[in-house]
C-alpha cells in the first residue's frame, strides 16, 4: 500500500497524533485519500485537529502512529523529498518581514532552485496575477491582512506544488478579502491544482470543496461531497423558533406535532428543528399554530435550508461556530 488508489496524491492510513502530556489524541486514526485536482476540505471546530493533520502531512508534526504519503512518497521517512512537491499557507502570517513584497517571492524561487533571472520574472508575473504589483517594493508591513494572505498564497504556488495546503486561509479576513481569495482558489482549481483546505466556516467548505471531511476530536465523522453530506442528514430544512415559556417543553411539543422533524435542539434563546420535507408543505404556519395552540407566544420564527452546519449539528449535537 504505497500509492493507494490511482490518481490519489494524498493518502493517509491510521494517521494518529498524541501530543506529549495530552490525554486524548489530537488526530485519531485518520484514513484519507485526496485525488489529483481535487479541492478537499477538512471542516471542524477549534481544536478538532485540522492544523495537526496539516502539520503531519507537511512534515512539521511527527505522527505517533500511522503513515502518510504524498504522491506515493512516505512523508515521515522522506520529508526532504516531500517538501519539494508541497506548499503550505499556515494560519499565521509567516512572510519575511525584512524583505519587500517582491523579494519574498523572489527568494522563495531561489529557495526552490529557480535560477535568479527566471525567479525574478516569475515573481513579477505572480505579483500581476495576485494584484500586488502596486506593492512590489513595499515592505510586507504595509500590506493589509487580505493582501498578506494573497502574497502567502502566491508564494506557496510559486514552485508549482503538487499539493497546496491552506490552513484556515480566510479566518480573520473581511468578507471582501474572503471573496477575493475564494476567486483565486477557484482559478487555481481550474488550473488543476490539488488543494487541501481546512476551515471552520461551513459556508466556505460548502461553496469551495469537492469533498469535505467533517472532523471533531481528531476523528472523521463524515466524508463526502457537500451535497451528499447534506442529503445524508435526512433533513433539508432548519426551523428556528423563539417563544416565551420553557424551551424544552416547546421542543417536545413541536417534535410531536410537526411531521418530518428529525432532530430538535435547544439554542440559547429558543428551539431549532431539523425537518425533512419541510420545504414543500407550508411549514411555518404549521409550526406557528402548533406553538400557539400549546400556549407559547412566538416571538421569532425563521426557516433556512440545511447546511453543512446542520450536518455537523446532527453528527455532534453542537454548533461549529464561526
Amino acid at each position: 500500500m504505497v500509492v493507494g488508489e490511482l490518481g490519489e496524491v494524498i493518502r493517509t492510513a491510521g494517521l494518529t497524533k498524541v501530543y506529549p502530556k495530552a490525554d486524548a489524541p489530537a488526530v485519531d486514526g485518520l484514513d484519507l485519500g485526496v485525488r489529483q485536482g481535487e479541492l478537499f476540505g477538512l471542516l471542524g471546530p477549534n481544536g478538532a485537529g485540522k492544523t495537526t493533520t496539516v502539520g503531519m502531512l507537511t512534515t512539521r508534526v511527527v505522527p505517533t502512529a500511522g503513515a502518510a504519503w504524498i504522491g506515493g512518497i512516505d512523508v515521515v521517512a522522506r520529508p526532504t523529498l516531500v517538501k519539494q512537491v508541497i506548499a503550505v499557507v499556515s494560519q499565521q502570517n509567516t512572510l519575511d518581514r525584512s524583505l519587500t513584497v517582491r523579494e519574498n517571492l523572489y527568494f522563495h524561487g531561489l529557495l526552490f532552485g529557480v535560477p535568479a533571472r527566471q525567479a525574478r520574472r516569475t515573481a513579477d508575473e505572480l505579483l500581476e496575477r495576485f494584484h500586488l504589483a502596486k506593492w512590489a517594493d513595499a515592505s510586507v508591513f504595509a500590506l493589509s491582512g487580505g493582501m498578506a494572505q494573497r502574497l502567502m498564497v502566491a508564494r506557496a504556488i510559486y514552485h508549482r506544488p503538487a499539493v497546496l495546503f491552506l490552513d484556515e486561509p480566510t479566518a480573520g479576513l473581511d468578507p471582501q478579502s474572503r471573496l477575493a481569495l475564494w476567486e483565486i482558489l477557484g482559478e487555481l482549481i481550474a488550473d488543476g491544482q490539488t488543494i487541501l483546505l481546512t476551515t471552520h466556516n461551513m459556508e466556505e467548505a460548502d461553496q469551495l470543496c469537492d469533498r469535505v471531511a467533517i472532523l471533531d476530536h481528531g476523528r472523521v465523522l463524515a466524508l463526502d461531497t457537500p451535497a451528499a453530506l447534506k442529503q445524508g442528514v435526512g433533513a433539508d430544512t432548519v426551523v428556528s423558533v423563539q417563544a416565551d415559556g420553557d424551551p424544552a417543553a416547546l421542543a417536545e411539543l413541536l417534535t410531536r406535532e410537526i411531521t418530518g422533524v428529525t432532530q430538535s435542539r435547544l439554542t440559547g434563546a429558543g428551539v431549532e428543528l431539523q425537518v425533512k420535507g419541510g420545504g414543500a408543505n407550508r411549514l411555518l404556519p404549521r409550526v406557528l399554530s402548533a406553538a400557539e395552540a400549546g400556549g407559547f407566544a412566538v416571538a421569532d420564527l425563521s426557516v433556512a435550508e440545511a447546511t453543512l452546519e446542520t450536518v455537523f449539528i446532527s453528527l455532534t449535537g453542537k454548533e461549529l461556530r464561526d
Binding site: G7, V9, T59, V62, T80, V88, L95, L110, G113
Partner: protein
C-alpha cells in the same frame, strides 16, 4: 501511478535541492545585511569604540591609572591587552545579535521560521545556513573593529601590535563559527521575552570573565590556598580562548598556548552546533 500524478514526483535530488536552498538562505541573510548596512556598522562599532575611548583615551588623559605598571608604559601594555579583547568581544556580540536574537524572534514572534523550514532541504541545513551567514557577519565586524581598536588612543599610549597573519586568518573564522553556534544554542533556548535574562545571566558573565580586559596567563595570581581558582574557572568560558587566540594573533603579549586554543575552540564549535541543532529540531517539529 497515473500519468496525471507525475507532477507529484520530485524533480531534483535531495542533494541538488539542498545546495540551492542553502545558497538562497545565505543570500537572503546577506541581502538583509546589505539593506541594514548602516545600522549594522553602527551597532558593531559602538561598543568597541566606547570601550577603547574610555579605557585608552579618557583614563590616560585624566590620569586615572590602568595597567598595573603605571604611567605611559603601563597604559600601553593595557592597550596591547585590550585591543585583541575588543576584537574577541565584537565577534561574540555578532554571534548573539545575528543568530541568537534573530532566531529567538523568528521562532517566538514573527514566525518566519515556519516558512523557511518548508524549504526542500534537511532541517539542520536551515539552521546551519544561519550560522554561516552569521559567521560571515562576524568576520566583517572583526575587520571593521580592528582599525578603531588600534587607532583610538590618548597621545603617548600605544598598543604594541604585531599581526601574525596565519593565526588571524584561521582563528577569526573559527571564532566566528564558535560564537554563531553559541548563538544558535541561545536563540533556540530563550524566548523573545527572556532575552533580558539571556544578557544578564549568560552574555555578561561571558564578557566579563572572558579575558577581554586582562590576560588569562595573569589570572594565576588570584589564588585561594595556593589554587588559582579563577584561572581554572574561566576555562569553561569559550570567549577566553578567542581573546587569548587574538592576543596570539595580534600581539607579542603572553597568551595561552595555541595548541590549546585551536582544539578547544573546535570542541566548542562541535558542542554548540550539536546542542543547537538538536534544540532547533525540537523547536521546529512537534
Amino acid at each position: 501511478m497515473s500519468s496525471a500524478a507525475i507532477t507529484a514526483r520530485p524533480t531534483r535530488s535531495v542533494f541538488a535541492a539542498s545546495r540551492s536552498a542553502l545558497g538562497a538562505l545565505v543570500k537572503r541573510d546577506l541581502l538583509v545585511l546589505r539593506k541594514h548596512a548602516g545600522e549594522f556598522a553602527a551597532r558593531t562599532i559602538m561598543q568597541p569604540l566606547l570601550l577603547v575611548f574610555v579605557f585608552l583615551y579618557v583614563f590616560p588623559s585624566i590620569g586615572q591609572g590602568v595597567g598595573g605598571g603605571g604611567g605611559k608604559a603601563g597604559e600601553s601594555d593595557f592597550a596591547t591587552v585590550l585591543v585583541p579583547g575588543v576584537v574577541a568581544i565584537t565577534i561574540m556580540f555578532q554571534g548573539i545579535q545575528s543568530v541568537a536574537i534573530q532566531l529567538s524572534q523568528e521562532f517566538g514572534y514573527t514566525r518566519e521560521i515556519e516558512d523557511r523550514v518548508q524549504a526542500p532541504c534537511p532541517l539542520w541545513l536551515v539552521a546551519v545556513a544561519r550560522v554561516l551567514s552569521g559567521a560571515a557577519q562576524g568576520m566583517i565586524s572583526a575587520i571593521l573593529v580592528f582599525p578603531i581598536a588600534a587607532v583610538v588612543h590618548a597621545p603617548g599610549v600605544e598598543a604594541h601590535l604585531s599581526v601574525h597573519w596565519w593565526v588571524v586568518v584561521t582563528l577569526i573564522p573559527l571564532a566566528c563559527l564558535a560564537m554563531t553556534s553559541l548563538g544558535l544554542v541561545l536563540g533556540t533556548t530563550f524566548e523573545p521575552r527572556n532575552i533580558g535574562l539571556m544578557f544578564g545571566f549568560v552574555v555578561l558573565p561571558l564578557v566579563f570573565l572572558g579575558g577581554t580586559y586582562y590576560q588569562w596567563t595573569k589570572l594565576s595570581a588570584i589564588q585561594v590556598g595556593g589554587f588559582p581558582w579563577l584561572q581554572t574557572l574561566v576555562l569553561v568560558n569559550p570567549l577566553i580562548y578567542i581573546a587569548e587566540g587574538m592576543r596570539a594573533g595580534l600581539t607579542e603579549a603572553s597568551h595561552m598556548h595555541l595548541y590549546v586554543v585551536y582544539p578547544v575552540l573546535i570542541g566548542f564549535c562541535v558542542l554548540f552546533l550539536s546542542l543547537g541543532l538538536r534544540n532547533f529540531r525540537r523547536r521546529v517539529l512537534s
